[in-house]
């Protein structure tokens, strides 16, 4: 009787900001119908890094704090959403650090209410300041190679290129620009924004990016926890596909006069 061979899969460790993770799916916590939905989605997906934002407390109504719904061992990535320039982003990051849940920050500087596109230049400025101040900085940007290089120099822990416009669920409209990042940028690449379906997440991972963040799609789904789980699975599948070495596309054959025939002439 033949023995079945055990496929030896090494655990795929994701190193980010000096920590080691086993899940490359990051979950955003905005727009959920309820905090419980959010908690269930974290659990179902196994996400180890979640984004949160900072807002003024509501002095009239006293709501439960979201922290109650996020497990102790999760890495908090505070989003500087609301910041319209580097100064505001820095201020928000420093306030967030005071909460005592670490000093990881996703720099999101948006001064555009129509498309919610990030201000790449202000993001670089904020990164320089915060990285020097000891933060683990993950800047969210439109995929511009020059900006990415500056972010690397500034000490960013990763770059977060958008897949497509925030909330659009359009997937990887910026695919080829993200591919340039994969080829040229050596720090982790976390695709964020526009990820509307698990297939988008798998597509990004197959290209060789390091992680994917999704928020809107999960939060607004009929069954958020189930979709969160699907995303986590898709990220894993895409990652394994990438590691296995996908077969190269075949070159197109065309019948035209031979280019190398001259080598065989008498």
């Amino acid at each position: 009787m033949t023995q079945t061979t055990q496929i030896d899969t090494q655990e795929d460790i994701f190193e980010l900001g000096g920590k080691r993770f086993t899940n490359r799916f990051l979950l955003g916590t905005g727009k959920f119908k309820s905090k419980q939905d959010m908690a269930d989605s974290i659990k179902a997906s196994g996400a180890q890094i979640v984004t949160v934002a900072l807002r003024r407390i509501d002095l009239e109504r006293h709501e439960e704090n979201i922290i109650e719904y996020i497990p102790e061992d999760i890495t908090f990535l505070t989003n500087t959403s609301g910041a319209r320039d580097a100064k505001e982003a820095v201020r928000l990051a420093r306030l967030a650090r005071e909460a005592g849940h670490g000093s990881w920050v996703k720099i999101e500087v948006i001064n555009d209410s129509k498309y919610l596109l990030p201000d790449n230049a202000e993001t670089v400025k904020a990164t320089e300041i915060l990285a020097a101040d000891g933060f683990t900085v993950l800047p969210y940007i439109s995929p511009d190679l020059y900006i990415a290089r500056e972010l690397v120099k500034a000490g960013a822990a990763a770059v977060m290129p958008l897949g497509s416009l925030i909330g659009s669920n359009q997937g990887l409209k910026a695919k080829e620009f993200i591919r340039v990042f994969v080829d040229e940028i050596d720090i982790p690449i976390v695709v964020d924004a526009g990820i509307g379906a698990p297939s988008h997440a798998a597509e990004a991972m197959e290209m060789g990016v390091d992680a994917v963040l999704a928020n809107t799609a999960v939060a607004t789904a009929k069954n958020p926890a189930q979709l969160a789980r699907a995303f986590a699975l898709a990220v894993k599948a895409g990652r394994e596909g990438y590691l296995s070495g996908l077969p190269a596309k075949k070159d197109i054959a065309s019948a035209s006069s031979p280019l190398t025939g001259f080598l065989y002439e008498e």
């Binding site: 290089r149 040229e184 070159d251 054959a253 065309s254 035209s256 031979p258 280019l259 190398t260 001259f262 080598l263 065989y264």
Partner: protein, 354 residues
């Protein structure tokens, strides 16, 4: 990045179909990124003084040749001659002698060259970043420097002494060129000198490192094939025409946006056919002896390598046009044209190089 075993597999695959497929991909990519432009240039050897002993080279220190180093007036003579053929892109070469052709000499040569040509490149001894910077601020646009072979053992065997024997100094020179602000860099290997698959792999890694870390530099690659000098052969492997074409095509496929140069070491028939397959820059009307254009008659010349394609510039241009290529003499012209009455402008209107 292609793996070593993939390179080996391509080199050992003898099938016509594979070769044709590589050629098709290469042609398509070249036309996509370069159109059908072919840049033209010519070499001028300023000096054959050399302090190194590279066993395969016509100029090495032990060879009994007439050592010549052009004086400024002689540079004018040679350059005037080449400029009159229409060439605007000049490659100035010297043997590797820090004493005979120091930076100051090279700067003087660049100054004179700028009076005749719009772009000046140099293929000279490897130097420090500051020296490359000096050349750059004095009008040199590009540097050519070949590692010859990336195999350390083989490198040691063929570079017996002199500064060229220092593998790392030479290897790192490419990066120093990039750091200096130089616009163009050309690297390459001498085909046949070292183990082929290994050398290609190392060359590609070197190029990838440079383009990733110094993205503002314009890169090109050259593949001179080792030819005989004075009847002796230093090649350890025979790179035949089929292999040569595979190398050109593979390079084009891996580095679609970078230039690939072809010198007159190759014969006319091969040159003409290989133009379709990824080449973007060729030399024309070349002479590889110091003072070989005007100063010395052929019998008194000591060429660095033997030229196979002896066609003058006019003929090359005609051939290119016949094959529907777009011959380009220069990529740009300086706005503050601080050249005096240059002979080449009258030449251009006379000959109507259109």
């Amino acid at each position: 990045m292609i793996s070593f075993s993939e390179i080996q597999s391509i080199l050992t695959d003898d099938s016509r179909e594979r070769l044709e497929s590589l050629a098709r991909q290469s042609k398509q990519l070249t036309e996509q990124y370069f159109g059908r432009t072919i840049s033209l240039y010519a070499p001028i050897y300023l000096s054959n003084y050399c302090s190194s002993h590279c066993t395969y080279c016509g100029f090495h220190i032990k060879n009994k040749i007439n050592r010549v180093r052009l004086k400024p007036e002689q540079m004018h003579t040679e350059m005037k001659h080449v400029a009159a053929t229409g060439i605007e892109n000049i490659l100035l070469l010297t043997g590797e002698s820090y004493k005979a052709t120091p930076t100051s000499y090279l700067i003087e040569a660049a100054d004179i060259a700028k009076q005749y040509f719009t772009a000046v490149s140099m293929e000279v001894h490897p130097m420090e970043t500051d020296e490359y910077k000096e050349l750059f601020t004095n009008g040199v646009d590009g540097i050519t420097i070949y590692q010859e072979t990336y195999d350390r053992t083989r490198y040691k065997e063929v570079h017996l002494y002199g500064k060229k024997a220092n593998y790392d100094f030479r290897y790192d020179a490419a990066e120093r060129v990039c750091k200096s602000g130089m616009r163009q860099l050309s690297i390459g290997i001498l085909l046949g000198l070292g183990p082929l698959a290994e050398d290609l792999h190392s060359l590609y890694q070197h190029l990838r490192f440079l383009e990733k870390n110094y993205p503002g530099v314009e890169y090109s690659v050259s593949f001179p094939r080792l030819r005989k000098i004075k009847g002796r052969d230093f090649a350890i492997c025979d790179v035949d025409d089929k292999q040569f074409i595979k190398i050109i095509c593979l390079t084009r496929i891996l580095f679609p946006r970078e230039g690939i140069n072809l010198s007159t070491r190759e014969d006319a028939k091969l040159r003409d056919n290989i133009l379709e397959l990824g080449i973007t820059k060729i030399s024309a009307g070349s002479n590889t002896s110091v003072g070989g254009y005007e100063m010395f008659p052929p019998e008194d010349q000591d060429p660095q390598f033997d030229i196979s394609d002896k066609r003058p510039v006019d003929e090359i241009v005609q051939m290119l046009k016949k094959r529907r290529f777009d011959p380009v003499f220069t990529d740009w012209r300086p706005i503050n044209n601080n050249r005096g009455q240059s002979p080449i402008f009258s030449h251009l209107s006379q000959k109507g190089l259109e």
